[in-house]
Assembly symmetry: C2
Homo-oligomer: 209 residues x 2
């Protein structure tokens, strides 16, 4: 779990404001998560998520004071863009990014909870499928769903995935899962807070790609 543990998310303040700079720092390591899946076919996903982060950072860098929190960015864009909003700017980038973050969260949580295919305990397809169904499927048309089903066959064995998450160090599954659980505390709170903001601001869209 070296990959994730070295880049823990912060404990959110009580008012759940999300500091843009700290968020961008923590999240910048997550595209590498898709390398842990082992196959080159996941490169387009990694680059989609990296693109979201770059888009948000681009807005932040224009005025770090004005955009100090993610909430301030989304509110400023709502003002600035009128009818185009929320399918625009960092609001759109964060809308999609949070779905990728949720995917990672549910996948890790499912593994940490020991959910498995009893007939194939070393496969993680059930965990990936659960994460996909809950975080992304709804936003994908039949074609992307079909491509997902094909790509799922390239998912690594659980043992390989754990090794990759641990940056190649040999660790026990139990040790890795203990770290995952610790990582998930602040991470889940952060992802939840973004979802709550999108609901509160009526910024969520459900079009499919």
């Amino acid at each position: 779990m070296a990959l994730l543990m070295e880049n823990q998310f912060i404990d959110l303040p009580a008012d759940k404001t999300l500091d843009t700079k700290l968020f961008l720092e923590s999240v910048s390591y997550l595209p590498s998560f898709f390398d842990c899946l082992g196959s080159k076919v996941f490169a387009p996903i990694k680059s989609d998520i990296s693109g979201n982060i770059t888009k948000i950072r681009g807005v932040y860098d224009k005025d770090p004071v004005k955009y100090a929190t993610l909430q301030q960015i989304v509110e400023a864009e709502k003002e600035a863009y009128g009818a185009e909003w929320p399918k625009v700017g960092a609001t759109l980038a964060l809308m999609w990014l949070k779905r990728g973050l949720r995917f990672i969260q549910i996948l890790l949580q499912s593994l940490a909870d020991g959910e498995k295919d009893e007939n194939n305990p070393n496969l993680i397809r059930v965990n990936i499928t659960k994460a996909y169904d809950q975080a992304l499927k709804k936003y994908h048309g039949w074609l992307v769903q079909k491509i997902f089903k094909a790509a799922l066959l390239a998912a690594p064995y659980k043992s390989e995935f754990i090794k990759a998450l641990s940056k190649g160090q040999v660790v026990t599954e139990a040790d890795c899962m203990a770290s995952v659980r610790q990582f998930l505390v602040n991470y889940t709170a952060t992802v939840d807070a973004i979802y709550e903001m999108y609901t509160a601001m009526n910024a969520e869209l459900d079009y499919t790609v």
Copy 2:
């Protein structure tokens, strides 16, 4: 055919040297070709090909005199990289780029030759499949082949594809195909010359992704 006609490839000299600068100029418009396929799912292909071009341009820009022709680039890299070569640098980028170029060439040629599925004359799946089988399939493992089969279902109708190639202008199929034939003359000669160079220099690899 506005997209391609405005960016014709040059008539090659008798010795078939490929001027790097002119090649990069002509080829820089081709990633947009994949937009003509209509669906967002082709974005990863467009970005793979754009990446190849960027890689080659990066090498060229380091020393435009030393790297004046594509042959000089590949030869200089053979010297410089030793055992790593040819799976490295602009040599690798051009190895893959030429396959994408061949894909486009065979697809356009097949359309210009009037090859069609008699039962579905407005579909271009037979043409795309022919191009894929001849240019790329061999270099793709079963998984990417499977993803190709799914993506094929997102291919546009012939009429839409022609309209997109013509930059949205309404032109007859016959007019468009006349332009395609004209475009293909120098384009095919260029792609052939690159393939010949890879064979002559023993630079071709057949690993799969």
